[in-house]
């Protein structure tokens, strides 16, 4: 009999996180612009999404180079100006597509896990 070991579970979580996190970032930017630290802390509050925190910045960099987000500097009352991220129209389209596919994927997986594939 095969048991999933903790290392394998961690790897699985890492792979799932890698596939979903950029859309979580886009989702967090849907209503408000956010600066990097704020985004990271928001994601870190959700168990397992950002570990460690610094790895979110390469992702943000890629989203920007792909035109899914854009940045601007805004003054801060707490200290130096902050770099704010804003979702673009392309980013919203990519997020909408992901939401649709994710719902279908999630429902399929949930159904199989719950019923063992029975109709």
């Amino acid at each position: 009999m095969h048991y999933m070991v903790p290392g394998a579970a961690g790897k699985l979580l890492s792979q799932m996180r890698r596939g979903a996190i950029e859309y979580c970032v886009l989702a967090l930017l849907q209503t408000d612009d956010r600066y990097g630290f704020d985004l990271v802390r928001e994601l870190a509050r959700t168990d397992g999404l950002v570990t460690p925190e610094g790895t979110i910045y390469p992702l943000l960099s890629r989203l920007r180079s792909e035109g899914l987000v854009e940045t601007s500097w805004q003054e801060s009352q707490q200290g130096p100006p902050r770099r704010y991220y804003r979702i673009t129209a392309e980013g919203r389209a990519a997020l909408a597509s992901f939401v649709e596919q994710w719902a279908r994927f999630r429902d399929t997986v949930d159904h199989i896990l719950a019923t063992g594939g029975a109709a």
Binding site: V40, P52, E53, Y57, L59, G79, P80
Partner: protein
């Protein structure tokens, strides 16, 4: 706490910059700036942080190596390929042999394309075995040659006087090279204005006398050191002047070696014919005269 060598944040940023060195410069600088901003924000929430506080803060951000690995992993594929140093080293390792191979291939192709082992080995003029020889053929050894009141001196080879029928120019060729070659075609560099090619090329092995010639219908493969006779029939166009002579020129043989073909000039002894000069003084052969039915 400031950014001295003992400052864990300064050490961390140095390590991060080193770990990101494989990234394109603009992206590396941007990532460094963003992580610095993150650290500044995190520090702002700490009141007079101790070394342990800073260590915990940096631990929460993650190791520079993890961030660099993530950055490389999320690079666009084209840039990631470019950054793969192992692939680059492999390319640098393979490049010189590849260049040498290509250069060698080009040199070999050039050598093969210009391979010219074919040489003259005797003959010119004369006749074809089993076929009556040309009438009036005169061998020239430099002695004066007098034709219709005009004297030519210093000519060697042979002179073929005007005639209505064809006459063969026979040339012996030998393969002097170590590889077999194939003869694809034969022509004369001349004939100029006076004579023309009047039939198919014939060839026969240079060996026992009386060997019957065969028309050159198929490419002839010539083994190393083997020789053959090549006979090209020529004929006067019809009009000429005996006041001048012209050499029909060398035999041109199209040789193929491997996949390469080129023309080789084989120079035998000169074959002289009456030259065309146009009126006045032009003579036309009876069966070639203009207006004759």
């Amino acid at each position: 706490m400031n950014g001295t060598a003992a400052d864990p944040v300064a050490d961390y940023l140095v390590r991060l910059e080193r770990a990101l060195r494989r990234l394109p410069s603009p992206r590396r600088e941007q990532l460094l700036a963003e992580v610095q901003e993150h650290i500044a924000e995190s520090r702002a929430g700490l009141h007079d942080p101790t070394g342990a506080d800073l260590a915990a803060l940096l631990d929460q951000i993650g190791s520079p190596e993890d961030i660099a690995a993530e950055a490389i992993e999320t690079e666009p594929p084209r840039l990631r390929r470019r950054m793969t140093s192992r692939a680059r080293r492999r390319l640098l390792f393979l490049l010189p042999p590849a260049v040498i191979f290509v250069v060698a291939l080009v040199v070999l192709a050039l050598l093969a394309a210009t391979y010219q082992p074919l040489a003259f080995t005797g003959g010119s003029g004369g006749g074809i075995p089993g076929v009556p020889g040309p009438v009036g053929l005169r061998m020239l050894d430099g002695s004066p040659l007098r034709i219709d009141g005009t004297t030519f001196t210093g000519l060697t080879g042979e002179y073929v006087p005007p005639r209505t029928g064809s006459f063969p120019v026979v040339t012996g060729v030998v393969n002097r090279g170590p590889e077999a070659i194939t003869i694809e075609a034969v022509k004369m560099q001349g004939p100029g204005s006076t004579v023309r090619v009047a039939g198919a090329v014939r060839y026969w092995p240079m060996g026992p006398p009386g060997t019957a010639p065969v028309p050159m219908r198929h490419p002839i493969t010539l083994a190393p050191n083997s020789a053959i006779w090549l006979a090209l029939p020529l004929a006067y166009h019809g009009c000429f002047s005996s006041e001048g002579l012209e050499d029909v020129g060398p035999l041109l043989v199209e040789v193929r070696y491997l996949i390469f073909t080129h023309w080789v000039s084989v120079r035998g002894q000169p074959v002289w014919v009456a030259a065309y000069s146009g009126p006045p003084g032009m003579t036309c052969l009876p069966d070639q005269r203009i207006g004759r039915g």
